[in-house]
Point group: C3
């Protein structure tokens, strides 16, 4: 196990198995010519595997959606481990797109997205500091409260 | 005509002429240093050139929007042919962002996005397997039912 | 001062200081292996520093949001200057994602996004011609009327 996965475990988290897409797409594509991996949008799951649902401003709190954003990041790391063999090959987290399921009058998307950003910096340190957009979607698949996609630089 | 365009035709589809942006942008940008082409969001058109409109959960079915997603992909391939000269230069479909015009209670975005994903894999085989996000937008230009943007790796 | 910043000033605009993210992310990430810089979503600000708020189709006009889109681009250029030292290092504007705060029945997102696109071409000429998506979000942070993220190629 690499240093990054050790670190994740020491923080009290664990890297899940890679998600299995249910359609004609994959969770990660490694573009070797660019040294980048692009990931699919990952959605949060409850412990029983069901979708972690909710719409901000309607029926889920910022605190709960913050944890769902962490859950998305761990799912992405599971997919990246599957792609790369070892998370230590991630040399920089480049870009996050945090897509938050939102009522029209919700405006605290950054507080939700911080669940993803804080965890990445906790795990990767300065290499985890990324560019980010956080916005409000009218609806998401399965009514999940957030969907996160990521671009990383790899060695 | 290259092997990929032959394949598209044998499947009963055809590659349209490249779209002409009506403003200060272009349909594709080829970043040679990265071996990537980034495309603009492409919207679906009816046979008469009008926008293929509709909001999922309100006035268009998943089955119809699935076909509109195929239409977006064909439009993107038209733009890529214009950029590259030959679609055989696409070595991998890297990333799709499927932006679905959605009522707040619509949750089947993946079923719509499959119209894009299924066609790409039908055309490109394993090279067509991409990372993907599919999400619900409150509104899209001209009330189109879907907008799709793509990143591809090229030789 | 480089030629591009001279040009910006001669057009009557100025490059602001880089934005300071209020959380665990950064405004730009330079991926040297790919020759690309990815930026965070930038939001428009009034002269007093407050968010430039409004939802298209509800309480802000296309003309005003066009100016807010310009404001986002200038903010991005401030962040890129901070990253690169000199905006002359931008060899191509690659991709814009224009995320417009929209009522469900608003359909003129491209007219808003043109505020960003027109200014980039005015400043950079042909190097400013980019791929673009412009879509309608149900809600944005702080109720800003638009959020723009950009990918640029650099030397």
């Amino acid at each position: 196990m690499g240093a990054i996965e050790d670190r994740i475990n020491s923080l009290g988290y664990s890297v899940p198995d890679a998600a299995t897409p249910v359609a004609n797409y994959v969770t990660t594509v490694h573009v070797k010519s660019a040294g980048l991996v692009f990931t699919s949008g990952h959605v949060p799951r409850n412990a029983d595997g069901s979708f972690w649902a909710g719409k901000l401003g309607v029926d889920i709190s910022v605190d709960e959606a913050y944890k769902a954003a962490q859950n998305c990041v761990l799912g992405i790391l599971g997919s990246l481990k599957n792609e790369l063999g070892d998370l230590d090959r991630v040399t920089r987290v480049v870009k996050l797109l945090c897509l938050v399921n939102s009522a029209p009058d919700f405006t605290d998307h950054p507080l939700v997205a911080n669940g993803a950003s804080d965890l990445l910096v906790e795990i990767f340190g300065d290499k985890g500091k990324h560019a980010r957009s956080a916005v409000g979607l009218s609806a998401l698949p399965g009514n999940v409260c957030i969907e996160v996609e990521m671009v990383v630089e790899v060695s």
